[in-house]
Amino acid sequence: MEPQAQTTESPMRRTVEAAVMIALGTAFVVASILCQKDSLFGKNANDRIEAVGIIIAAALTLIMYSFLYRDNPLFKIAENVYIGAQLGYGAINTWRLALRPQIYNPLALAPSNQALWDALVFRSVPILLGVLLLTRLSRKHGWLSRYSYSMMVGWGAGMTILVMTDTNILQQLQAAAKPIQAGVTADAGWWANAGAVTGALTVLVGTVCVLFYFFFSIPHGPVGQRVSKTGIWFLMLSFGASFGYTAMARISLVIGRMRFLLFEWLKIPQ
């Protein structure tokens, strides 16, 4: 994906890169063997498997990071292995934790005829609808999936109206509609109380201005312009906060990977 995919490369540079790759690969293998030698050549078979697993995981981690330098065949292999493995794991899990307890067990392992009958009565319709869902893959019969789909969409729509009104409108409205001086207490200092009132006012003004910014069907006059501009300012402050937090999140993830590489793969003492 990097722009240099467009630029032409000299054969010289290719050779250098290949040499570097080989050197790095060798270094990886040597480092892995050295750092994991205790478990790799240990007596316990389980430990040996774990060590090999850690080495593979470390290799995959480094290959994935190599993408930061540039796209490369190893990355593409790792990426496709990842997609495939995730798919396979998802399929097994869906079988193990959804299809087996909900379809296979009640029907195939029904203890009595009556139980089988009850399971059939309760489960045949959803199973049929589930199978109909699969017709979505066919162009000709895709419309059959609408039956199963429409039920779920309808249920979702009905529930959405309810929970949104409750959670995001009424409860927020109740919290927003508070006296400005609600945070004022007798034992807090003047500054603290002034802060509480200012805070409440800020929330009030901000909420109203941002709501106004998302107003589309009336022309914004000069006053409206100002209000919606204030709204944008509030939005930007909150986006900035989101940015800061997102930065924190992403860094944490790198920390997690580095911990793996340093402490599990290279076994650096903590």
């Binding site: 240099q4 529930m159 929970v163 949104m164 409860q171 937090y245 999140a249 993830l253 790198v254 920390i255």
Partner: protein, 277 residues
């Protein structure tokens, strides 16, 4: 875009990548000390909420994350589980993420081994069911019917860990450890519909979005990202993975701040000179 500019861009990028990597590796290698810090108010609220539950209370922990965000959320999950076991609470774990069960059973088994607790008696991991919000709604009617077996295929009907718990309404606290929108789902369909208190441990990305819920009390407390997890470890008087990441986090943030300020100073300088609009 001229070619040399593109090359320059690539070079800048690679330098920044190297700087970020260095900012994260070096503190570990030189074993930089962890700066002391105070737990934030939001984390305190989560801790106090768990602390206030009487022994034997059931705590539902929705583990809505997968290896993507393991680094951020696993320390949180471990912290809360440790806290629950220390307080003799009974965690009921569940997930609606199909890729998560192996990770979560790994976490539970690790903590269970550490604390000597037993699956089915002191805790239960119900596993995964498809259907997202529908799972939450069904659990609101009957947990045993939603999960006839747990993740380890044990039947849930006579499980001591679930004794007296027929539905989600009977748990004392819902804890959501989530990497995305699932936390909203649990608030809307779980805690708000059934009026069960809820605390959330979320990735830092999600945290700012939860403040309106924190303000109304729909969420009783938030653990935000690795810092939230570190706060929780601090409150538990421990120093595990999250706390050990804090010095690195400080350095990396410092680098980012320096980069942004540096770039802006350069930008303002050039703009003053009229080179950039």
């Amino acid at each position: 875009m001229p070619a040399n500019d593109t090359q320059g861009l690539i070079r800048t990028r690679r330098i920044i990548y190297l700087l970020v990597a260095a900012a994260i590796i070096v503190p570990y290698v030189i074993q930089m000390p962890i700066p002391s810090f105070h737990a934030q108010e939001e984390a305190h609220k989560v801790y106090d909420r768990v602390e206030s539950l009487p022994a034997g209370s059931r705590v539902l922990i929705a583990m809505e994350f997968d290896p993507n965000c393991e680094a951020e959320l696993r320390p949180m999950a471990e912290g809360i589980l440790r806290h629950c076991f220390a307080r003799k609470l009974v965690p009921i774990l569940v997930t609606t993420n199909y890729i998560a069960p192996a990770l979560i059973s790994d976490i539970c088994q690790k903590i269970a081994k550490e604390t000597g607790t037993v699956s089915g008696k002191d805790w239960v991991f119900l596993g995964y069911r498809p259907g997202m919000a529908n799972v939450v709604i069904t659990m609101g009617e009957s947990i045993q019917r939603t999960f006839e077996t747990d993740n380890f295929s044990q039947t849930t009907r006579d499980m001591p860990a679930l004794a007296g718990v027929n539905s989600l309404k009977d748990v004392s606290l819902i804890t959501v450890i989530s990497l995305g929108d699932t936390v909203n789902m649990w608030i809307q369909y779980g805690s708000d519909r059934l009026k069960v208190p809820l605390v959330a441990g979320v990735t830092a990305v999600m945290a700012p979005d939860l403040y309106p819920y924190l303000n109304t009390g729909q969420v009783k407390g938030i653990l935000a990202g690795l810092r939230g997890a570190a706060d929780y470890e601090l409150l538990l008087h421990r120093s595990d993975d999250a706390a050990k990441g804090m010095q690195v986090q400080s350095v990396a943030h410092g680098l980012l701040i320096a980069l942004i300020i540096g770039a802006n100073v350069r930008f303002l300088f050039r703009r003053a000179q009229g080179k950039e609009a």
